[in-house]
Amino acid sequence: MAIKLTVNNQPQELDVDPEMPLLWAIRDHLRLTGTKFGCGMALCGACTVHIDGQPTRSCVTPISAVAGKSVTTIEGLSSVAGKAVQTAWVGLDVPQCGYCQSGQVMSASALLARNSKPTDADIDAAMAGNICRCATYARIRAAIHQAADSLPASQAKS
């Protein structure tokens, strides 16, 4: 039976194995390839998407668990916080190989949406689940602070 959900504000119906992780449904079936596969065990964060606004590892989330919910991928990231994060990412030249950065941006956007002025400890707590083998961590931290500074506190959530 097809599973109905919303992806990037578009209604979608997916007739796939209900156990299929959301990651493979959005990559292979919806062809939204910005969300990356890194580990398949929720260990690296490359697959992070927002489900009803919450940062979620799509590689271990069965598609059946997302029925009726709203999924935002990097392609659909349009929140004020999300845009501020991407602007800071580009401005500080955060990416190196870039493969993990979709997940980093999604985790950082979710952080700023709930905490518009995160401390270094807040950043550690929110971002420690996202691995970057190029170790762009120093710039990720700086970019989150820069994005936060660019953001009036009241706007982050909109």
């Binding site: 190989c97 420690a128 190029c134 170790a135």
Partner: protein
């Protein structure tokens, strides 16, 4: 690693010999290269159009002015065709910067794209003067492109100037170019795009004059040149091999042997084929492939697949047994001389103090964030490969062999690689050959996308070789290092590969490069290497042999300084008289770190914690890097608080990229120092994913990293790797300064080291 012999080593290797690199072709090419003409040889724009890259949307509209390295389109964009893979190290920014400088382009008009696999046009001159191997490695991308791309930019500039001169009927000498605009004093102006068509019809000028470095506006500028790939990589639009979606494409996973060297005995594919979505199960040389409509079905199918393995030829030892054997082999009957100068034995007997140390380094997986992936599409007369190729023409030759076609029938589309650190450059092109083999075994019915899972990546071999060093060093009465005996044991990266020709006098240079005797000019030194025979596949890993030789060198020298009662910086400087670059870099790092000053925030850390400083310097890939670090050791854990880095990499073309690479090298090296370890039990790899193969996370990254680049007018040298070797020893030295614990085994285990008497 001196890579200059790779090309000769490969010359007799059958897959490459089929590429037709004949002596005649070589002579013709070197003649052209000598005159610089290859840089500006015009290819018709239509050829680019047919390249197929437009399928992926990574190529713009073919322009009117087109050379192998520079294309100028009517829309006024300047595209630099990069022969090196962009794997994060910044070549899509650094290489365009070189062209933009000589062309006097505006940075905003610069673009980058991958070249086709083609030699000698896109050969790497660091791999040999003939340019008959295209590949990215040894931190050579900038070094071997520097002169070539400066010429490419200068030729393009001269031709645009000539085109303007012809159009305006004025002498070329009266025309200036600045920030992407061609101007004449009469007030006439034109963009590159407006002149491109006319310029493309001109013949090449006989010669061009390169800028004097004092005239550089973009190169070396502290006004940051934004990376050309930051936007695509911050918005999820950068395409990697895993993102390639071709019509009717299937996804394949491969079941590989549980032990290295095992072979397929029998296959029961019934259950796998019963999984909905699975379309084929085929045997290939490296295992059994499950081909399915999507990745999930391929994964489920592989879980259901039953294969019996013939393990008669498999490696069944564990790493404990392997290290035991290494200790026995060390300096023994099979040891080969690496260096023998003076009389180390006799001098050691006279030494006032002798230090005897063993070092152990585990196997390490590269673990790039994008697991190995390749897409292959095969027809009767053509094989197309999409991958983050690091060994372009070797991959092409291997794909040709696997597909049964000729190399010229193999088209390589090099995409951005989601990290590689050496893993995607291997002589067998393992992952590419797998993809092509599956396409071949399924009769080219559909394009095949091969994905390695993280478990495949961690357990799949091609690791940094496990390595053992035994060092005996002697000090004179006044504390001078007067004698060194060093025995190294590990597997050879080059042996048994087409690059075996790089083994000279029985020594694989990648096993011993960057040694202590060499970099500290020890007068009496006897160094041996013993090649271990183990069935675990190995490969170069970011900075190759320096990953272990630098650690031994810099920890040893620090302990010798302590034994001599000398300051670690002063002691090193006394040994670096013949190495002025190393001395200068070391001094700068020490000075900027405040080596002689107390800790900025006091010596004491949290209650019960110990703080310490350590330093290390090392030369690799023609660059020199020193790290001065501060650590806090608390409750059995090591926290790196601050890293002050100095680097001499010649001219820093894009200083911001150099800094990014230093940060990256520090993080990558710290992963290995603190956590990195692949172990085997009875021949089976113990680690499978990031919960067991732990890597550095943001909360473990040193909160303060300061990077200082030495001003230089020398040609650029490597930055992708040279920052890695000195970080682990700097941290070990800081830990010893803080606690007295000597760390001689990686990854660091404070409790174990404390319990070991050394």
């Amino acid at each position: 690693m001196d890579l200059r012999n790779i090309e000769d080593s490969l010359a007799t290797w059958p897959p490459l010999a089929r590429l037709g690199i004949t002596r005649r072709a070589f002579l013709r090419f070197t003649t052209i290269a000598g005159s610089g003409l290859t840089l500006g040889a015009i290819i018709p724009a239509s050829a680019a159009k047919k390249s197929g890259l437009t399928v992926l949307g990574i190529e713009g509209t073919p322009g009117d002015f087109s050379t192998p390295f520079v294309r100028i389109d009517p829309d006024n964009t300047v595209t630099v065709i990069c022969k090196h893979v962009e794997a994060g190290q910044g070549v899509w920014t650094g290489l365009p910067a070189v062209v933009a400088e000589e062309l006097d382009a505006s940075w905003g008009q610069m673009r980058a794209e991958s070249s086709p696999a083609k030699v000698p046009t896109y050969g790497n001159f660091a791999f040999g003067p003939k340019g008959n191997v295209q590949g990215t490695g040894g931190s050579t991308s900038m070094a071997n492109s520097w002169d070539q791309l400066r010429h490419a930019g200068a030729y393009a500039r001269a031709m645009l100037v000539q085109a303007a001169a012809n159009r305006w009927k004025v002498p070329a000498s009266e025309i200036t170019v600045s920030d992407g605009v061609v101007s004449h004093k009469s007030g006439k102006k034109a963009t590159f795009g407006e002149l491109a068509a006319a310029a493309g019809k001109l013949s090449l000028p006989a010669e061009v004059k390169l800028k004097d470095p004092s005239q550089f506006k973009l190169i070396g500028s502290e006004k940051k040149l934004p990376r050309l790939d930051s936007h695509s990589k911050s918005t999820g639009t950068q395409q990697f091999a895993i993102d390639v979606m071709l019509p009717d494409m299937m996804t394949a996973l491969v079941l590989r042997p549980p032990r290295f060297g095992a072979k397929v005995q029998s296959i029961d594919s019934a259950a796998a084929k019963a999984v909905p979505g699975v379309v084929d199960v085929v045997q290939i040389p490296r295992g059994v492939a499950v081909v399915a409509r999507d990745t999930w079905a391929a994964k489920k199918g592989r879980e259901a697949l039953k294969v019996s393995w013939d393990e008669s030829g498999a490696e069944k030892r564990g790493t404990d047994a392997i290290f035991k054997e290494y200790r026995q082999l060390s300096g023994g009957a099979e040891a080969v001389k690496v260096e023998n100068r003076g009389d180390a034995d006799a001098t050691l007997k006279k030494a006032a103090k002798v230090i005897d140390v063993e070092f152990e380094f585990p196997y390490l997986a590269h673990a790039p964030m994008e697991p190995l992936t390749a897409v292959a599409r095969l027809s009767a007369d053509k094989c197309e490969v999409w991958a983050g190729c690091q060994f372009h023409t070797i991959d092409q030759a291997n794909a040709a062999q696997a597909s049964g076609l000729k190399p010229e029938q193999v088209v390589i589309y090099t995409l951005a690689a989601g990290g590689t650190f050496g893993r995607r450059a291997n002589a067998e092109s393992d992952y590419i050959v797998e993809a092509v083999s599956i396409a071949k075994a399924t009769g080219g019915k559909y394009p095949v996308r091969l994905i390695w899972t993280r478990e495949d990546d961690i357990t799949g071999g091609r690791y940094r070789p496990a390595t053992y060093h035994h060092v005996i060093a002697g000090l004179s009465q006044d504390g001078k290092l007067i004698a060194l005996k060093q025995d190294v044991v590990n597997q050879s990266i080059m042996a048994g590969t087409p690059m075996a020709g790089m083994i000279k006098d029985g020594v694989d240079p990648t096993s011993v490069e960057g040694g202590t005797a060499e970099q500290y000019d020890v007068e009496n030194a006897h160094v041996t290497w013993t090649q271990a025979k183990v069935g675990v596949p190995i490969l170069w890993w970011r900075s190759v042999g320096h990953t272990h030789t630098a650690f031994v060198k810099e920890v040893l020298i620090d302990e010798l300084a302590e034994a001599a009662g000398k300051d670690p910086v002063a002691y090193r400087l006394s040994l670096l008289e013949k190495h002025p670059r190393q001395a200068a870099v070391l001094k700068l790092a020490a000075e900027k770190a405040g080596w002689d000053k107390p800790f900025a925030n006091g010596q004491a850390g949290p209650k019960g914690a110990r703080r310490g400083r350590g330093i290390a310097v090392h030369e690799s890939f023609n660059s020199v890097v020193a790290h001065a670090v501060e650590v806090t050791v608390n409750d059995g854990t090591i926290k790196v608080d601050r890293v002050v880095t100095a680097v001499d990499c010649g001219i820093a073309v894009t200083p911001d990229v150099v800094r990014a690479q230093m940060q990256s090298c520090i993080g990558y090296g710290l992963s290995a120092a603190l956590y990195g370890k692949i172990s085997l039990t009875d021949g089976r790899v113990d680690q499978t994913n990031f919960h067991q193969y732990r890597v550095l996370r943001i909360n473990e990254m040193p909160p303060v990293i300061e990077i200082h680049i030495l001003p230089s007018t020398n040609p650029p040298t490597g930055v992708g790797e040279p920052g890695t070797p000195p970080i682990a020893p700097a941290v070990a030295n800081a830990v010893r300064a803080a606690t007295g614990i000597k760390l001689h085994k990686l990854p660091f285990d404070l409790a174990a080291a404390k319990a070991t008497k050394t």
